[in-house]
């Protein structure tokens, strides 16, 4: 597949008009979030954890758990709310809508989507609706994974399909009020899916690749003993024309490239991913001829790296690895060479890692998939990045609620117009 060249055709007037949006170096935020989300600067108040239900633990259901992240609060580091949904659905990933009023959360097993209101009472999200028709709506996509805000709608990457449970899959779009819009299947040459991320300045979208339902819902011990099944993992990152939703270039990245993170600084035309099976930290970069290429920039070791998080100044990548339960920090200030500068042992099955809005705090959880996890303790751990070291701040046990997976940061005070910090303000019903 050929790539297309992009160029600089916009009129000066357009560039002037749009350049006012720039804020200089990004100060901080959830660096992995959609660029269509309003950014909130400052200390996060809450961490929403989409949590796998466990039989015999609480009501056994999947739940959205709220952790108090406010230093000085009497409940700092504690679970302050659990909003349960009926049943266990293989709770996995979740994401905000473009107005940050809803959090959409998916179940990889039955493909249910749970839409939570996180605006009315940010400490206590409320289940607004459950979309049970994802497979039917989309013409057979299974396993809604990444929930990515676009203006007025949600872009959802899936992992599998209803026909054969393989990794052939696609993307779906829904309006913010839950109406299905369209399905976009992955190209035949690269049928797998996992993450999806957009760079608006370049009009480019990246998708990565994992495995189908018959792999991810299979017990891990069985899976790794089955050579044929182990071949059924994705090996590609696709570069798309975002606006056209059309693939431009397929990059071969063997070993299941998972999370994608676009660089955030001006003129940084690159992204990172990590491969679960070949344990590489991978740079995806734009070449001068307008095509894209990849380079392995660090070998993480045979530990199944899972989630990664990029510092807001593009200087560091945080990598969690499942097998050895370690959080590693790589200096990527030269993006072509990742240097390991810090690592801490988190505990078994380390999984998701998220950096705070100001780059000062890092949170990690330790559940991957219900049939891949081992018996053990489940938790959320908070660290601070201080003096080039990861300094522990608190550990929240999930023993009473389930297994912690993805984190999204919330604020007690909803976002407002720029400049609102000039005066303390309050909104109230019209």
């Amino acid at each position: 597949m050929n790539s297309r060249r992009w160029s600089l055709p916009l009129t000066a007037a357009v560039l002037v008009a749009l350049s006012v949006l720039g804020r200089g170096p990004a100060s901080a935020d959830e660096t992995c979030q959609s660029p269509f989300l309003p950014k909130v600067t400052g200390q996060e108040d809450y961490i929403y954890v989409w949590t796998l239900g466990v039989a015999g633990v609480a009501d056994g259901n999947d739940s959205l758990v709220t952790i108090d992240a406010r230093p000085g609060s009497s409940t700092y580091g504690q679970i302050i709310n659990r909003t349960s949904v009926r049943g266990r659905h293989e709770a996995h990933h979740a994401g905000f809508t473009d107005d940050r009023r809803q959090l959409w959360a998916g179940g990889l097993d039955d493909s249910y989507i749970f839409v939570f209101d996180v605006a009315s009472n940010p400490a206590k999200p409320r289940l607004l609706k459950t979309i049970t028709s994802f497979v039917k709506d989309t013409g057979g996509l299974v396993g809604p994974h990444t929930f990515y805000a676009l203006p007025g709608r949600m872009l959802i990457s899936a992992l599998s399909n209803a026909t054969d449970g393989s990794g052939r899959t696609g993307l779906a779009e829904y309006s913010n009020d839950g109406k299905f819009i369209r399905t976009i299947w992955m190209p035949k040459e690269a049928p797998y899916g996992y993450d999806v991320r957009v760079n608006v300045n370049l009009n480019r979208m990246l998708t990565s690749s994992f495995a189908g339902k018959k792999n991810y819902m299979r017990p891990f011990g069985d899976l790794v003993k089955d050579p044929e099944a182990m071949k059924a993992f994705g090996d590609s990152v696709i570069v798309w024309d975002f606006h056209a939703r059309k693939p431009l270039q397929i990059l071969r990245v063997p070993g299941a490239p998972l999370e994608l993170r676009w660089a955030l600084q001006p003129n940084h035309y690159y992204a990172f991913t990590a491969t679960a099976l070949t344990h590489q930290l991978v740079l995806i970069y734009l070449k001068e001829d307008g095509t894209w290429a990849t380079k392995n920039i660090a070998d993480i070791g045979e530990n199944i790296p899972v989630d990664i998080s990029l510092a807001p100044d593009d200087s560091k990548v945080y990598v969690n690895s499942f097998m050895d339960g370690t959080l590693r920090v790589y200096d990527v200030s030269n993006p072509f060479e990742g240097k390991l500068i810090e690592q801490v042992k988190l505990g078994e099955m380390a999984n998701m890692v998220s950096e705070s809005w100001d780059g000062k705090r890092i949170y990690a959880t330790n559940s991957l998939l219900s049939r891949w996890d081992k018996p053990g303790d489940y938790w959320l751990k908070a660290y601070a990045w201080e003096g080039g070291k990861l300094v522990p701040k608190f550990t929240t046990s999930f023993a009473a609620v389930g297994r912690a997976h993805i984190m999204n940061f919330g604020t007690a005070a909803p976002i407002v117009a720029r400049g609102a910090n000039q005066v303390a303000q309050r909104t109230r019903p019209r």
Partner: protein
């Protein structure tokens, strides 16, 4: 449409923080894909509403009849560079493209004020003049009542929340997400542009894409 999608206001919101966007530098560096090379499926349908342009009462369905509408919600006191001024500057450029590319008879621009306190006819008139609105192409209007405005905002999914200070006084400012809507000839929203993607050239290509759809030629 859910209450949340409609942006219904929240109770007792304290808002001491600022809004910006995650990818801090928005400077589009791409050629928008050519018209007709991609699809714009319907995202949602919007209703028809009465609006006031000066002292004239108009119905949006009539204004937009058989045309592609570019609809923006703004308020004239908005001072955010990321907000209404950006939207209206983009509308000015879209108006210019529409006029120069022979699309005048097929496109209408609509800026709707959501400030039902301050934005009376004279303020909107001045606002339209400031941005060079060609009244045969670009209508700067307001809703006839708060109830009507609320219904319109809900239909489009445009959030708007009044901001109050610590003493409970209205500051004259609103929380809102910048959104510009591309509405087709049958009242279906075909694209929504927010701060990161409000590129006039791209909007024009989207207009042409919708106009060139099978069955639309010659309408």
């Amino acid at each position: 449409m859910t209450a949340l999608a409609a942006g219904r206001p929240l109770a007792d919101e304290r808002v001491p923080i600022e809004e910006t966007y995650i990818q801090g530098d928005f400077a589009p560096r791409f050629t928008p894909p050519a018209p007709g090379t991609y699809e714009l499926p319907a995202i949602q349908r919007v209703g028809s509403f009465l609006v006031l342009e000066g002292s004239r009462t108009l119905r949006t369905q009539t204004l937009l009849a058989g045309k592609i509408g570019v609809v923006s919600f703004v308020y004239t006191a908005c001072s955010e560079t990321l907000g209404c001024p950006l939207a209206s500057e983009a509308m000015r450029q879209i108006q210019s493209h529409v006029a120069h590319e022979g699309l005048r008879e097929r496109v209408v621009l609509l800026s709707v004020s959501f400030d039902d306190v301050l934005d009376h006819a004279s303020r909107l008139e001045a606002y339209a003049q400031r941005f060079g609105a060609d009244r045969s192409l670009w209508h700067v209007v307001r809703a006839p009542s708060a109830r009507s405005l609320q219904a319109m905002l809900a239909s489009f999914g445009q959030d708007r929340t009044r901001l109050y200070d610590d003493h409970g006084r209205f500051t004259g400012r609103y929380r809102h997400t910048l959104k510009v809507f591309l509405v087709d000839q049958r009242g279906a929203v075909r694209n929504i542009y927010s701060t990161g993607f409000l590129v006039p050239r791209l909007v024009i290509n989207d207009i042409k894409t919708v106009l060139n759809e099978r069955g639309e030629e010659g309408r």
